[in-house]
Each structure stands twice: as C-alpha cells, then as structure tokens.
C-alpha cells in the first residue's frame, strides 16, 4: 500500500525545500554575502583614503546624512549611513535573484520543476512554497547584510574617533526600505523564472549581474530605486519619504507575488 502522506502539504513542500537548502549548506547564501562584504569594506576604507575632502559629490551625500539626524560632523559616517541601506537593498536583491535563478531556473532547466508538478502538490501550492522560500531567503540575506552594514557604521565611527546618533526615522527608512526592496526583487525574480522561463534564460552568459538573466536585471530595479530615493528624496522628510518609497516597493513586491500565485502554469515550465 502506498504510504499515506502527511497533511499540510504546502508546509511539507516548504519544509522539504528548506531542508534541501540547509543540506546544501547554504552555499548560495554565503556566495551572495561575499560581494556585499567586499563593497562594504571598500566603503569604509575609501572615505579614509580620500581624506575627507569632498570628491564626487560625497559632501552632498554627507549633507543628506546630517539632515537625517547624524549629529557628528564626520563625512565618512554620513556617507556610510546613507550608502549602507542602498547597498543592503542592492546586494540582497542580487543575492536573492541569483539564488532563485539557480534554484528555480536551474531546476526548471534540469526538469526538477516538472518532477515537482508530478507530486501531489497543486501548481498553486508549489508557487506558494517557492514564494515562501524566496521571501525567507531575501529576509535572511537582508538580516545578515544589515548586521554587516551596522558593523560597518560602528567601525567607521570608531575609525573617525567620533560618535553618531541616528533618529528613529532614519532607522525606519534604513531598515524597512532595503527589506521591501529585497522582497520585491525576490518576487520579480521568481515571477520571471516561473512565468517566463525562456526570458529568464536570456543573457545568462552576459556580464549582467552575476551570471545575468532578465530575472536578475528586474530584481535589481527596486533596490536601485532605494539608492535613487535615498539620494534624491531626502528633502521630502522621513515620513513622506518612507511612505512614498515604501509603498512603491511594497506594491512591486505584492504585484509580483500575486502574478506568480495567479499566473503560474505548468505549460510555461514544460515548454521551456
């Protein structure tokens, strides 16, 4: 007699996917963290090397940083405070898009998604489980990179022999926006890989973002938006800023999730 499966299959599938990721020793996560760690290290070192003289507009960025509650006068601290959230958003999106492309796109090209579709899980349950994994990965990357970013700020303050006090509004912007951008990137990447698997394979050998693919390119857009809004939208005031940028990013995340949940069709995966 066939063994009776356990109830709660979406949970079982999600558990299986996480078990597999853990068994693969989270190699993808480690790889995704390396570029961020390298860039953050450079961000700390670079202002020190340039000697604090305003170059390439960093004084302007520093000014924005001060407006967000940095009471210290150190330009390097301001720069790191302003750049860190954008870097977290950007590298979280790059990391999660690469992982999704390897996990979902790679599985689709190897026939793994077809095998999943042959198991007692509906396409909607499979899409939900993959979305949950994607969101979990994005959150994990965001948390790890935020911790590294906070470390970078602390080290910069120490190196500048100064002190920094940040406002609650800054913390809200710096924490929430990158997380939303990472989720939006994960949703967009998953959407392309599941709904348009052929497009996801385009440009995979190009230099576009760590192995490329349209999914990766799209996944970066919300993060680039975070960078842009941190640079240009500072005059709006933290509340308006957070509401505007946050709602836009959240809308992208929710839209891509809804598109995956409603639009995932086995035919698209099988055709590719």
């Amino acid at each position: 007699m066939p063994a009776e499966p356990e109830p709660g299959r979406t949970g079982a599938l999600l558990g299986a996917l996480l078990w597999r990721l853990r068994r693969e020793r989270l190699r993808y996560l480690a790889l995704a963290l390396i570029p961020f760690a390298a860039t953050t290290a450079l961000t700390i070192v670079l202002p020190t090397v340039t000697g604090g003289a305003g170059v390439n507009g960093v004084d302007r960025i520093g000014g924005f940083g001060l407006r967000y509650g940095t009471h210290a006068g150190t330009l390097a601290v301001s720069i790191v405070l302003m750049i860190a959230p954008g870097l977290v958003a950007l590298f979280s999106a790059i990391g999660v898009a690469s992982i999704i492309r390897n996990l979902v796109g790679g599985e689709a090209s190897r026939g793994g998604l077809e095998e999943l579709l042959a198991t007692p899980h509906s396409p909607a349950a499979i899409a939900t489980a993959l979305l949950s994994v994607a969101a979990g990965l994005a959150t994990t990357l965001w948390a790890a990179m935020t911790a590294l970013g906070a470390l970078a700020v602390a080290l910069t303050v120490l190196a500048s022999r100064d002190s920094a006090t940040v406002s609650g509004a800054y913390l809200a912007v710096a924490l929430i926006l990158p997380l939303l951008a990472a989720w939006a990137g994960a949703g967009l990447s998953l959407m392309v890989n599941l709904l348009f698997p052929r497009l996801a394979q385009l440009g995979k050998t190009s230099a576009l973002v760590n192995g490329g693919g349209l999914g990766n390119g799209l996944a970066l857009l919300p993060a680039l938006g975070v960078f842009l809004t941190m640079s240009t939208g500072a005059g709006l005031g933290p509340t308006t800023f957070l509401l505007t940028a946050g709602l836009a990013t959240a809308a992208i995340a929710a839209g891509s999730v809804a598109a995956v949940a409603r639009g995932f069709r086995p035919e698209a995966v099988l055709e590719s």
Partner: protein
C-alpha cells in the same frame, strides 16, 4: 482491471496540439509505449502523470483524476528521461529530500530510502554526490525516487537510454520484478531490440494518435503486413538454389543472404526445399525484429509525408 486510463486526450502547448484524442487503458503489468520522435510520448506521459492538463479528455488513476485532485498523483511514480537530482546532494540525500517533497510520514522516510536503495542496489553510490554519478547510476536513482511512495503506477520515460548493457539488463529485470509484484508500469523507449523482450503489450503512438496496440508480432502484422525478411547462411550454391526456388536473394554481410518470404509458414517450406536442393543450412534468422519493422514503417511514413 483498469488502473490507468486516458479517455479522448487532447493536449499541447500554447495552441499547438500534440495529442489528438488518445484513448488508453492499462492494467497491472509491463506496458511499452513506442513511437518515433515527435510522436507525443513525452506529452502523453506528462498528461498521464497529472503534470500537463489536457485541453480535452480525462485521465483516471484507480478511478481518480489527477488533474482535478492533485492528491491522486501520489498513485503515480514518474522517472523522467533525465532524472532531476539536486547536484550537490548525495544520492541518498536526494532520496531523503524527495521523501519530504512527497510528504511521507516522518517515521517511514528512512525505512523507504533504505528499501529502495536495497531494491535498486544503490548502496555503493548512496553517499556519492549526484553530480558525480554516471548516466546509468542517475537513471537508477531516478527510478528509486519514483518508487519511494510505493505507487501502484510507474511511468518511466526511456529508463535504459544511454545506460550500459549490463545495467540496462539489471534494470529490465527489476522492472519485470515490479510488474510481477502488481505494479502497472508504462515504459517509453527507443531501444527497439530490448523492447520486444521487455513487454508483450505495446502501444504505438504516431503523430499524437494511437496507431496500434498489441503484442509485437500482432502489431507487425497490422502495420507492416505478413512478409518476413530472413538472413540465411549455408554451404553449397545457396544463391543459385534460392533463385531456382523463386526467392531472389540480396547479399548481406559475412556470406549471408537476405531473402523475403510472405509468412512464417513459408520459412519451414523454404528450409526443407533448400536441404532437398543439396544446400546445407547453417543459419536462419529474422533480419530484424517485429517492433523494428513497425517502427521503421512509421518512420518511412513520416518521411514520405514530410517529403
């Protein structure tokens, strides 16, 4: 007893119809699905497995439609032509992962993994990473995945393709064993030489339709006719004797001749006539096998239409 059936199945991809009204019905035992490239075998497997929804028609597995009720898919084990294994996991971990995907009860998982490893003799490669396995080993791990949930129906897409002969022979034995144990097994294959040895029930798919079904010899009669081509080797003037008896022969390799005869009964008469004519017969073998003739017949038809 019908275990797996498809009624008036139409299916395809984005407006391109591949299956045009396929009707099939399988009971316990080993069944073969044969057809040229593009005949629709893979699409039919996808529809039967509940992966690709048919645009028309219905699949029933033990009376349940896997497209309407996904839980019915647990009654089917599918081994793809190229099994998708997680490359960085060992063979055993791939099986453990799949027990979780299939939502097997936690208490049964390790037992089932051990059982399929023993059944398919995978012990020596269980701890080997999947991306280091040979093609044949990957095929066997894929078959093991299909067996994990002990499904009554197995759909195997070219399970012995590109596998070395010894492994293929072992796989065939294992499939016969599973069929004898009551499984309903549908095998798609291009390996014609082994196909007639593997199953007595052959379904020929051609251009998305069932062209014929039956035992290999019956199919040959249905599709190709009664004629047979023999390969003969003998002492004396074999070619002259054949000509005098009214059977023009063509030369084949290694002193053998090819002769066409109208039916199986004529083979016996011809051999007796040749012996009477003073020829010593050393070898009489069919120049092909029944399925090969059927297959070639379908391919010739496709080529003629394409031309």
């Amino acid at each position: 007893m019908s275990v797996l059936s498809g009624v008036d199945l139409h299916a395809g991809y984005r407006g391109r119809t591949v299956l045009h009204g396929v009707d099939l019905d399988f009971g316990p035992g080993l069944h073969l699905l044969l057809g040229p490239n593009g005949a629709g075998k893979t699409t039919l497997f996808r529809v039967l497995a509940g992966v690709l929804p048919p645009s028309r028609g219905r699949v029933l597995i033990q009376g349940r439609d896997p497209h309407a009720r996904p839980e019915a898919k647990r009654l089917v084990g599918v081994a793809a032509h190229r099994p998708a294994l997680a490359p960085r996991l060992s063979a055993a971990d791939n099986l453990r992962y799949w027990t979780r995907v299939l939502a097997l009860p936690a208490a049964d998982r390790d037992r089932r993994v051990r059982e399929v490893i023993d059944l398919l003799d995978l012990g020596s490669i269980a701890d080997q990473r999947a991306d280091t396995l040979s093609r044949g080993q990957t095929q066997r791990v894929g078959l093991a995945k299909a067996l994990l949930a002990e499904p009554p129906v197995l759909l195997l897409d070219e399970p012995t393709a590109a596998v070395d002969p010894a492994v293929a022979a072992r796989l065939r034995d294992q499939l016969r064993g599973l069929a004898a144990a009551g499984h309903t097994i549908l095998v798609s294959t291009h390996e014609l030489a082994e196909a007639s040895d593997l199953a007595d029930d052959v379904t020929v798919l051609h251009r998305g339709r069932v062209a014929a079904r039956g035992a290999p010899s019956t199919l040959r009669e249905q599709l190709v006719g009664h004629g047979y081509r023999l390969r003969l080797r003998g002492t004396g003037d074999l070619a002259g004797a054949l000509r005098r008896l009214g059977y023009p022969a063509e030369p084949a390799t290694h002193d053998r001749l090819l002769v066409d005869v109208p039916d199986e009964d004529t083979v016996e008469t011809l051999v007796a006539d040749l012996v009477r004519a003073g020829v010593g017969i050393r070898e009489v073998t069919p120049a092909g096998n029944a399925l090969e003739d059927v297959y070639l017949h379908l391919q010739e038809g496709a080529s003629a239409d394409a031309g």
